[in-house]
Subunit: 193 residues, 2 copies
């Protein structure tokens, strides 16, 4: 049986990404090295460097490739329930061990490496923002959210409080916290009439 | 003229912090080293290490010591105007050059170094949170914000969208953005009745 070149390349990519994630979980992101990934994956380090110029970009690819499918929005017709379910899915994955510390380290790396920041935005934040806007525009049309709501801002207001807790106060991100954030954002700070 | 020991220590601390900030602006946080700070300040590096066990903690101290006074909340009786003025003051300082890249690097460091994260929270985030809650509780009592508003969450909802832009999308933080965030948070996402 022969394997075609694209299949072999895909299998090697998968092996490298699995080695990256396994090692990152074992030693932590700070101690992860492309040399160690190459050794674990059984490839030369130049094979990795040809495709990923930095460990930040390799790790970004590894993290996102395995998990993109879970980030689709449900649409049950109840915007609060759907936001809650989608945000809790993301939070369960990205804010808890084993992913939590790794995603946090990736965002930390994005503060020092503009290529990682750009990749994080292009690969993960921008697509999530687009999906969020599509889901919220539908909710606006159904009268479930205010027609005045600034759709361009909504990813920042929805995700910002989660990132604040993940990156700044570094307290645990719980479903209860997601509930409280959604309640606060839907109610608004203005006095009730 | 003789100088008492506490005065000499305070002067030396000031010299070290000024050297830290000057060097950080010249070479960037990533290339900052305690050795270079010691040389610039004219002290031995052990003098620095005795007080600051890492460059992250030295930089945190240097950044915050010089700027704590500006973060007090005004109280003109108009909560939206006061929030706007206070947030714009912080944004002008922390999100623009020369501080912006340095503060961003500090938060990046906090993702890898728990002592920096703890120091950032104790020295800057917690006191700001306390001041924000005091100011908003007064506004609640004056009927300017909803009595249902979750005061424990308000720092996350107010600051989160700013940190999201600073750390994740890395777009410029402008006064217009602050205005839009405040407008969105006060109005809420629920449909207007």
């Amino acid at each position: 049986m022969t394997t075609s070149h694209p299949d072999r390349a895909a299998a090697r990519t998968k092996t490298i990404m699995q080695a990256t994630l396994a090692l990152a979980q074992e030693v932590g992101y700070a101690k992860l090295s492309i040399e160690a990934v190459a050794a674990r994956a059984g490839v030369g380090k130049h094979t990795i460097y040809r495709r990923w110029p930095s460990k930040g970009l390799l790790f970004l690819d590894s993290l996102l490739s395995l998990n993109e499918p879970v980030f689709d929005y449900p649409d049950t017709g109840d915007i609060v329930a759907d936001l809650r379910r989608q945000i809790c899915t993301v939070v369960d994955l990205l804010a808890n061990p084993p992913w939590g510390p790794l995603y946090q380290a990736l965002v930390g790396e994005a503060q020092h490496d503009p290529a990682v920041a750009a990749g994080l935005n292009e690969r993960f934040i921008r697509p999530q923002t687009d999906k969020t806007i599509v889901r919220l525009r539908a909710a606006q049309e159904q009268g479930q959210v205010s027609s005045d709501m600034d759709l361009d801002l909504v990813m920042a207001t929805l995700s910002g409080p989660l990132y604040f807790r993940l990156l700044i106060t570094q307290e645990p991100l719980t479903h209860n916290y997601v509930d409280r954030v959604l309640e606060a954002l839907f109610a608004g700070m203005s006095p009730r009439l």
